[in-house]
Subunit: 211 residues, 2 copies
Amino acid sequence: MIPKKLIKNNRTFGKILFIRIFAPMRPQKINDQDLLEGLMSVIQSKGYDGSSLNELAASTGLQKASLYHRFPNGKKEITTTVLVYVEQWVEENITKLLSDNNIKPNVRLEKAITNINHLYDGGKKICVLRALTMDSNLELFGGHLKNAMINWIEGFTNLGISFGLSPNVAKGKAEQTLILVQGSLIVSKAMSTLNPFQETLKTIKSMYLSG
Amino acid sequence: MIPKKLIKNNRTFGKILFIRIFAPMRPQKINDQDLLEGLMSVIQSKGYDGSSLNELAASTGLQKASLYHRFPNGKKEITTTVLVYVEQWVEENITKLLSDNNIKPNVRLEKAITNINHLYDGGKKICVLRALTMDSNLELFGGHLKNAMINWIEGFTNLGISFGLSPNVAKGKAEQTLILVQGSLIVSKAMSTLNPFQETLKTIKSMYLSG
DNA sequence: GTCTATAGCTAGATAGAC
DNA sequence: GTCTATCTAGCTATAGAC
């Protein structure tokens, strides 16, 4: 006859097995996507040094320790993950879109501008890339920043080529779009008006449509 | 007869009086100008949140407590003082210079470009203004940032008018110069090449000389 | 997977000697 | 005016219960 103790143990074992393999110990309070967007909004407005784990946790509804469960390497991993997310966003919404020769160039441009406007919330949100360009942060995240910018430039270069520009001219123009967007976000922030950013989006359009 | 004690007291009093009024207790280790430039370089490369009082002190050769003697309100006062210094720099080297109708417009432009290049060390140094545009910093320093930018724009607007532009067109162009400089500094940093900044300085020149 | 509690440290800031 | 020593609060990160 099986002793009670063992039965209990077996039950417990079974339960643990079930939980570990088929379901989490406790339900996730927040999914990966929402988690990431909460974290990003904090880093975007406070920067890496300015964001504390308390704030990051608060923005997601989790406790600090829970954040460490999902990002074992802490703040650096959180930031890196956010940056990879941005990298993919650029790849998807700028690079691929602007390189898609199945769509008319002017339609691509229009869509990209809309995406950019959406990403920065009309100019209210500062660029994550920008929020991390302090010297000390560059050592940690420089690679990701560079990648995102390279992809941005690649996308707009392809757009320019589709508009009939030479590769060199197209690349120059592409770099201009990046400079203009980054610069206008700063000026918009500091002058507390969305105008510079909004005007810049129009400028970028006209750079391709009237050139 | 005067008791010894009183004489001694008088001597001490005299000494203190002399020291307090005619000379500092100890000689200053570093003058205001050098002090400020050391502090600025730290804030410029690390930002407000990223700069610690230990680093700030180290950059000046003083101890933390000595910094508090010279800036009783600590980090905020240090940063504000740096910002006022930058405000004055812009006022002097951009606004006044570009508004001086005794100098030929193209000479003013040339000099201003040289000054800007010098301020940012050819693109190596990030703009102090930029280093402080995080949301949380804006509450503290927003006014100074705005002033500096307004003065920048005023200077370039006057330059444009001297080149024969209408006030409105001149102002638009002036805003563009600010956006371009700020943006190109970011891109230069992130891409680890001074090229975008240097090219932008040339672009600004041509905006006035060939337009 | 989430939580409370806490370790270990560094931040900004102050007290008081010289 | 500068210094050493120290305070408290907040930080990043970890331990262990549920």
